[in-house]
């Protein structure tokens, strides 16, 4: 039921109903949209490269933090400046001295990173060389930070802060790998 009953209202309703529902926009509108999408896509890729680099820096910063924590929480003889000795994968298999919970988590992280690494290797040809360089640098920093955290944890297995740094370094490495694979389209 309609609330408008006067002849004027009826006439207005008729005119309104006769208005065209569609009006074609000028052809240049789509060109402008397409150009803006392209520009945004390019900016997004640049931004993702920056985020990859930032993730690497974050891992490096957490590695430094790890050293500080180690220095403060244990006597220097046990915890000072534990240098990275090997890749996390090699360390995980050769020296299973982490607490069982962390060792089990590390196995999960290793499976994830290996799967992502395989995907990235398959698609790396579609990435710009500068992006590949950024990714590789970030991954090297991540591996170094993980190895450092792992070594510190082996010396001080009950240190909760070290455990948190250890897992967060793995998560950041996975984040770097995931972002990199998203940047690289399927070939």
């Amino acid at each position: 039921m309609n609330e408008h009953t006067s002849p004027s209202d009826e006439k207005l309703d008729e005119l309104t109903a006769a208005l065209p529902r569609e009006i074609a926009p000028p052809p240049e509108v789509w060109s402008a949209i397409r150009a803006e999408l392209a520009e945004r896509s390019s900016n997004a890729r640049r931004w993702d490269r920056w985020r990859l680099a930032a993730a690497g820096l974050l891992i490096a910063a957490s590695s430094s933090l790890l050293t500080v924590v180690a220095l403060r929480t244990r006597d220097h003889a046990r915890a000072v400046a534990v240098a990275p000795r090997s890749s996390p994968a090699a360390a995980a298999t050769a020296e299973p001295r982490l607490p069982a919970r962390l060792a089990s988590m590390e196995q999960g992280y290793l499976r994830s990173t290996e799967a992502l690494r395989r995907t990235l290797d398959e698609r790396r040809d579609s990435l710009a060389p500068s992006t590949v360089a950024t990714v590789e640098r970030s991954l090297r920093i991540a591996d170094s930070a993980i190895a450092e955290a792992r070594a510190a944890l082996e010396r001080d297995p009950s240190n909760a802060v070290l455990a948190a740094l250890f897992t967060s370094n793995y998560e950041r490495k996975i984040d770097v790998l995931r972002r990199a694979t998203e940047l690289a389209p399927r070939t």
Partner: protein, 203 residues
């Protein structure tokens, strides 16, 4: 008398997009492809919906230049938001909501800019009408073109209510949801719009 909604939406086009079921199925596939970054699929979606969106933007903005910019804003935003489009509403309704939001955001920006330079604002809703500063220009011949002109000359808030409810056929509740207006305020604006249009068109 038939309601505005039934006048605007003919019985043979039950879906708000105006697309037939087969076209809708094709549209779903295009949405899926566009979500995955397929710009060609998005271009086809654009061509399916641009006419409806431009008509809405033209009537909401009251002038073609801003309407073109609104269409552009709408589809660029839609491209970015498409991964979050869940299909609860039709794509047309979703695009219309984006267009209305884009317009409201522009109006808020204009208002802030106007406040900075201390311009006099429209007494109706703080927005300036593009053609007649809140007054409807007298129009003698009641044709569709005259109605378009009269709609364009309505104060912006009143025009928005009229276009969304009377022209596009959205319910009071839907328009209230899109614009953030209370339904009471919306009804008052619709009443005012009708009065102004009837007077302007000498109906």
């Amino acid at each position: 008398m038939a309601s505005a909604l039934s006048l605007v939406r003919p019985a043979h086009t039950p879906h708000p997009s105006g697309l037939a079921p087969r076209e809708l199925a094709g549209e779903d596939a295009l949405v899926d492809r566009a979500r995955r970054g397929d710009v060609d699929a998005f271009e086809r979606l654009y061509h399916l919906h641009a006419g409806r969106v431009y008509a809405l933007c033209l009537r909401l903005a009251g002038e073609p230049l801003e309407a073109r910019e609104l269409v552009q804003d709408t589809f660029v935003h839609a491209w970015e938001a498409l991964p979050r489009f869940r299909g609860d509403a039709s794509l047309t309704t979703w695009l219309h909501r984006i267009a209305v939001n884009a317009l409201l955001e522009r109006r808020r920006r204009d208002k802030r800019r106007s406040a900075r330079v201390a311009l006099v604002e429209d007494e109706d809703d703080g927005e300036s009408a593009p053609m007649a500063g809140g007054f409807v220009a007298p129009i003698d011949v009641a044709t569709a073109i005259d109605l378009e002109r009269a709609i364009a000359a309505l104060p912006p808030g009143v025009r928005r209510a009229f276009v969304l409810h009377e022209v596009e056929g959205y319910t009071h509740e839907e328009v209230a949801g899109m614009t953030g207006l209370a339904t009471g305020t919306l009804r008052a604006q619709l009443h005012r719009a009708r009065q102004l249009l009837i007077r302007a068109l000498s109906l």
